[in-house]
């Protein structure tokens, strides 16, 4: 069984569209994250959810919004997509406080054309 699963793996869309990426973890972890990895491979944290509460929110445009229907899911919604949003997005989960290792999903390669 996959510990952290993301869908879709690839996403190609036009500028201005709205899209969502889904993430599910079956590890029973309390904390889930979204990271953006650009072409330079920099892993930038976007959001972190702990027990369904947003605990950090970096300088991410408000076009990006995380949605957590329950502890096992953290979906990422993106409105009005722009060319600069093209990147690989990783979902991850860990135990509360980061005392446990983080497990990453396979990543979603988003291409905005």
């Amino acid at each position: 069984d996959t510990a952290v699963s993301q869908t879709p793996k690839y996403l190609v869309t036009q500028m201005g569209n709205d899209k969502s990426i889904k993430c599910e973890q079956n590890l029973g972890h309390d904390t889930m994250y979204w990271y953006k990895q650009d072409s330079k491979k920099f892993l930038k944290i976007m959001f972190s959810y702990n027990n369904k509460e947003l605990i950090i929110n970096e300088t991410v445009p408000n076009r990006f919004s995380p949605k957590s229907p329950d502890k096992a899911h953290l979906n990422l919604h993106i409105n009005s997509l722009e060319l600069g949003d093209s990147a690989v997005y990783f979902c991850a989960s860990s135990q509360v406080g980061g005392q446990g290792k983080a497990f990453f999903g396979q990543g979603t390669r988003l291409t905005v054309v």
């Binding site: 904390t31 994250y33 990271y35 330079k40 491979k41 920099f42 892993l43 930038k44 944290i45 972190s48 605990i55 950090i56 990783f90 991850a92 860990s94 406080g97 980061g98 005392q99 446990g100 290792k101 983080a102 497990f103 990453f104 999903g105 396979q106 990543g107």
Partner: protein, 108 residues
Amino acid sequence: QQPVQSPQAVILREGEDAVINCSSSKALYSVHWYRQKHGEAPVFLMILLKGGEQKGHDKISASFNEKKQQSSLYLTASQLSYSGTYFCGTDSADGLTFGKGTHLIIQP
């Protein structure tokens, strides 16, 4: 604020050693190390929870100097399979934040 890693890139011949450093301006609860192969997700290597702690498996080890808010990853007698991008992750009040990564290339 993300931790600072150095060097940005390392090219080694098989069998050589490397050290990757990670430092933070914030108090740390723990330090994580991950390796990412091209086209794949980052994979956990180890976590150091206490100052002075040292860990290792196979020929990869790490240390954590809590007072200096620094950690180092040591790769000994490198193998081709060690190639990839290494990230240190620091856990603080802001959550699990990663450095910009160190690209490690091992040549035969």
